[in-house]
């Protein structure tokens, strides 16, 4: 059985200058929820639009369910449901009319009423799109993708700009689609979204995959599962950082502004040693927290940058 989505050595150069995607490989199995994670400008949207057949790659191959865009455009269009970043649907059409319009393009669409019910748009069926809230609009965008009864759902930053409740509603919709055997490829720059929703992830930066695996695998690859963050009076010179690295159970040290972060395997052995060191050097502890390592830490570890930095 072929992979749901596969691409090899994908490259995209805009105007012969800007290299948005630089040799990207992915293999996504049917039934998976796969996330492309990366900061703005990492090449996520370019990648997903090439996979969707909306952009021509400069080089490389794409196969979707064992078919290529060159030979099976019409079939692939029937099998794919797509929600783009920031599509503005016609404001003067009602929710029902919009979904019916998109349904009319497919040979065997789902019933619009059923899709509206599933996406909690039933109450708004006759409201104009212009009157919907951000969350409702985003659900409608997903509804126009789901009404074609797709096998694969592509979602480009589906929850960007939504309030927490709307985000959770959308996650539930995606999970429902996965439960009936659908495959999902989504891009996001929200860590928690990727951690909760995705079976596997690829972290993308500068047009390349810099890490791939399940969220747990990625966090484990970071070494420690915990992060200890602290700040001391007198600042953090190179010496002090060296001492911190030598503390028991520390895998890596990062230092940002006044805060020093240690990724550690066992906080209960590292923290007493850290406190001892602070006392012996006659420093004052200004700040101390400890938490579970997250994908954000993985990303910072891999790239030296935060995901949502501009």
């Amino acid at each position: 059985m072929p992979a749901a989505i596969q691409c090899r050595d994908l490259r995209k150069t805009y105007d012969g200058k800007v290299e948005a995607v630089r040799g990207l490989n992915l293999e996504i199995q049917a039934g998976e929820c796969f996330g492309l994670l990366g900061p703005n400008g990492a090449g996520k949207t370019t990648t997903i639009e090439i996979l969707e057949g909306l952009l021509q790659p400069s080089s490389g191959q794409v196969t979707i369910l064992g078919h290529t865009w060159e030979t099976h455009t019409r079939e692939l269009r029937e099998w794919l449901g797509i929600s783009l970043q920031e599509t503005r649907l016609s404001e003067k059409l009602s929710v029902r009319e919009t979904i019916e319009l998109f349904a009319s393009f497919y040979r065997q669409p789902r019933s619009s009423a059923e899709v509206m019910e599933e996406l909690q748009l039933g109450e708004k069926a006759d409201a104009w799109v212009g009157k919907l809230s951000g969350g409702q609009r985003q659900r409608l965008a997903v509804a126009t993708a789901l009404v074609g009864n797709p096998k694969i759902l592509f979602l480009d930053e589906p929850t960007t700009g939504l309030d927490p409740q709307s985000r959770r509603q959308l996650w539930e919709i995606i999970r429902t689609f996965l439960r009936v055997g659908g495959t999902v490829l989504l891009t996001t720059h929200y860590m928690d979204e990727a951690e909760r929703l995705c079976d596997r992830l690829a972290v993308i930066d500068h047009g390349q995959v810099i890490a791939e695996g399940t969220p747990t695998e990625l966090i484990e690859r970071l070494g420690g599962h915990h992060v200890v963050e602290f700040a001391v009076s007198g600042g953090s010179d190179a010496d002090f950082l060296g001492h911190s690295k030598a503390l028991p159970g520390v895998d890596s040290v990062r230092h940002e502004d006044e805060i020093i972060s240690l990724t550690v395997r066992e906080p209960h052995t590292t923290i007493p040693a850290l406190l001892d060191m602070v006392r012996m050097q006659k420093l004052q502890l200004l700040h101390l927290t400890t938490r579970q390592a997250s994908l954000e830490d993985v990303f910072v570890h891999l790239t030296g940058r935060h995901l949502r930095e501009e």
Binding site: M1, L54, I82, K92, L93, S104, F105, K151, G181
Partner: protein, 370 residues
């Protein structure tokens, strides 16, 4: 088929409701319906497409309506013989269109200077008269000629050349008759260019075009639906403008309705294609608005909407006649007002077909969906 089996395997539970099947034209029908709904729900658009040309026709039709026969007002200075002069004018053939008053000299000159009278007639008391007029006011010149004619023929002058005149106020030759087909052509141009050009770029800017091509929608269906909505509007535009002309201004439509509809269709398609060409690359509605105005400007001026293009120098007339709006206006005018056959308009029809065909072909070649 192997593909079908593989893909079925990815879906664990069959859909609860048996899937409905969409026919070949389902996409087209829904696109057309959506387009018409959007139009109807946009009040400003309704005004610009329908209200504006109707108001123009009404306004210009009333302003340039045929006025009642002109009369000229003159004043006769109350010298001896003034009453005889007045009587002689009244008896003359020109009498009904001349209104004469008798006043003393000061009053008469004052009123003349204020423009109340077109001419001062001063009897010299010996059967002769002196005309006082202002050569910079054309109506005083006309008045002098008319009054002089009246006096001379009243006194028994025989005209050496027999002459008679007829007044042309027949429907078919008035300004409103010239105007209505021109306005119809202009309306078809406006709504074709804006209705296609602007709509397409707006959808591109909203990434709706991209969203559409991400579905199995046939691109040809999308373009056909745009054309279809134009044709529906064209029918309404023709009905409204010709209806107004017939009801309010007694416009006489001599050509067959089918020929008018065919020309309207040709015009709509030509300007739709031209509109699509202006829209084929533009990413922003501001860009396409500029392009559309730029493309329409020469036709507003040269194509004989409000006045005949025959006033322009003969050297540029061939270029003017090659413009699509000129061809459409001329064809509509001769068909509506003179009932000309389509075959007699082959040249104009060819101009429309070429403009439509070439711009549509280029538009498709350069068109950017994403």
């Amino acid at each position: 088929m192997a593909i079908a089996e593989q893909t079925r395997a990815t879906r664990l539970t069959p859909p609860a409701v048996p899937p409905r099947l969409n026919g070949r034209w389902s996409g087209f029908a829904h696109l057309l319906l959506a387009r018409m709904r959007e139009l109807v729900r946009e009040p400003e658009l309704i005004f610009w497409i329908f209200g504006f040309p109707l108001l123009l026709a009404l306004g210009l039709g009333i302003a340039f309506r045929n006025k009642p026969v002109e009369t000229t007002s003159i004043v006769i200075v109350s010298n001896p013989g003034a009453q005889e002069i007045a009587d002689m004018i009244q008896r003359s053939p020109q009498g009904p269109s001349i209104r004469a008053q008798v006043l003393d000299r000061t009053q008469a000159l004052q009123a003349f200077h204020f423009g109340k009278y077109d001419l001062v007639v001063e009897p010299d008391g010996r059967g002769g008269v002196r005309y006082i007029y202002d050569p910079s006011r054309s109506e005083t010149l006309l008045s002098r000629a008319e009054v002089d004619d009246a006096l001379q023929s009243g006194a028994g002058r025989e005209n050496p050349v027999p002459a008679s005149s007829a007044v042309s106020t027949e429907p078919g030759s008035r300004y409103i008759d010239f105007l209505i087909p021109g306005l119809l052509g202009m309306t078809l141009m406006n709504s074709g260019m804006w209705g296609v050009g602007f709509a397409v770029v707006d959808m591109r800017q909203r990434k709706l075009l991209k969203r559409f091509v991400a579905t199995p929608m046939r691109k040809s269906d999308f373009l056909l639906a745009l054309a279809g909505s134009r044709l529906v509007l064209m029918l309404i535009e023709i009905a409204l403008l010709l209806g107004l002309g017939m009801l309010a201004f007694h416009l006489r439509v001599l050509g067959s309705l089918w020929n008018i509809l065919l020309l309207g269709t040709l015009g709509s398609v030509a300007f739709g294609g031209f509109g699509l060409l202006t829209a084929c690359r533009a990413r922003k509605v501001e860009t396409v608005s500029g392009l559309i105005n730029l493309a329409m400007m020469p036709m507003w001026i040269f194509s004989g909407v409000f006045f005949s293009y025959e006033h322009f120098p003969a050297r540029i007339l061939p270029y003017i006649k090659a413009l699509p709006l000129t061809a459409l206006n001329d064809a509509l005018r001769t068909t509506i007002l003179q009932g000309a056959s389509l075959s007699s308009q082959a040249g104009r029809i060819l101009v429309l077909v070429l403009w439509g065909g070439i711009s549509f072909g280029l538009a498709l070649r350069w068109f950017r969906w994403t």
